[in-house]
Amino acid sequence: MLLQVENLRMHLHLRRGVLQAVDGINLHVAEGETLGLVGESGSGKTLTGLSLLRLLPKGSGRIETGSIRLDGQELTTLTEAELARDIRGRRIAMIMQDPMTSLNPVFSIGDQVGGPLRNHDIARGTALRSAIVDVLKRVRIPSPEDRLGDYPHQFSGGQRQRIVAAMAIGCTPRLLVADEPTTALDVTIQVQIIALLRQIQHDAGVGIILITHDLGVAASLCRRIAVMYAGQIVETGPVRTIYRTPSHPYTQALLAAIPRLHSKRTRLAAIPGQPPSLIEPPTGCRFAARCPLRMDQCAEPPPTVDLGDGHSAACWKLTH
């Protein structure tokens, strides 16, 4: 297995209390596979991604328990220096939502795409230059040799996200964490970046964790889906199973709440209420307060029920 995460807990120690941002996550990604980490804002999907690289909020973020293994190597016991040298940007790379904030406006794109290659000692001198041109070609920046000296503002939004992708794949990482990589883009540009991510995966066999709130984008890219709610994974399984026969009431509610193209105009099934605070969250099922199928049992933490074929969900209803 490329990535295996077990019982990962990352809490934020704030002045107002301990925020259980990531609370007992289990997930795995196979080589060349895309796992969609789907959830709403505050569900902990971005912090799960950052926890893999131990890029935690300074001072407050702490990994409490759990294991993160990449190609069998345990990452939670590595030192900061080891992480910086061998993992971040080298074996696990990230693509963030907004290309304007992940690119530095005062450095040329040649410098920025070359940065990880230099830092990880992958290429120097003329070899570095041709490696930069090569990776920019792979993300389909037209005539990259002429544009190495250009700055981010001289590129369009879609091209900037291509450049961010080039920075990420330059060092041939094993795992790519893409956090809302198309959310800041227009729909006709989004489709181009989705195609690029598919191509990167196909060419490089890289494993991808796609973090998104957009169920359409997840469906178009992922083989498996993990649905997060309030810091926990409530359901995981093959993409078709999750979309066709979701088992967790939250997944069902989420799929019913979105307007769909070319479907009958019916009233949307809104989910009442809002997610709980993760400072002293409910001890039982965290979705219970909004759940139409709530029972007395839901005051206890629900077990994760294996539904076969890699499909599982954490809900008391499924034990009956």
Binding site: T188, S220, V239, R240, P259, R265, A270
Partner: protein
Amino acid sequence: MLELAGITKHYRTRNGIVRAVEDVSFTVPPKGTMALVGESGCGKTTIAKIILRLERPTAGIVRFEGADIATMSRAELHAYRRQVAAVFQDPYSSLNPRLRVHSIIAEPILAHERPGRAELDKRIAEVLDIVGLPATAATLYPHEFSGGQRQRIAIARALALQPRLMVLDEPVSALDVSIRAQVLNLLQDIQAEFGLTYLIIAHDLALVEHFSSDVAVIYLGRVAEAGPTEKVFANPRHPYTQALLAAVPLPDPDHVLSETAATGEIASALNPPSGCRFHPRCPHVFAPCSVVVPPAYPAGPGHHVACHLLKDLSA
């Protein structure tokens, strides 16, 4: 009810003239929901600002119930502003963080009327009740609410003067999926109850299809296609509308995305392409497209398409 005729807006900048909106005409039917849909920079928000008279058009006329809003007297304009309200995208920046909800909702009322304290409190409680918030919410500050609740407060403020037209600029795009449905349903309930007319600006096509009765698809400041939502979505005739619809990833793992419906990037409004502004990206481009601006050809009742492909069909 609301009619735009030949609305054009150019901005003079250091780098030249930005042609944000070019010759846009449409009519918003009373009690209907008109959607303006398009990608960023297409001019949809500029059109909303012109309707709200936050911007003046370079050319063209906006008529509200037949009256040109550019030539209204102070009193008429005052009356217009009573009848037209707006809800903006981001409920974090559209509500003043230093004011309590009571003052936020009272502000538009006090700009138009002088109600007594008890009357004012009663009206604020009423609009809060319409949007599903308790009367006690009036004593709190915006930061004490979630994003969805803040958008409810923004809607309550818009309702305070019992407007007839509401301009909704991306009203749910800052909200989470599970909260979006709550706010969309609320807006639909309010419309049905008070007979409001909506003009919604959105980029989410599934939302537009779900929410609107009529739609105008805008590309780089020009209307590409407009008509009854049902017709436009069932049978899109403009290659840009077709590209937009083909590019939407559906929540269905068996749906295959079209990666070729629109290639390239959106051009700059500073230097828009000649002829049809979509022609450099259009898979069906032919001789006249780069030279002649396509007129709006009829494609069915109330359905218009600005594309040369329809010329022979309509002749």
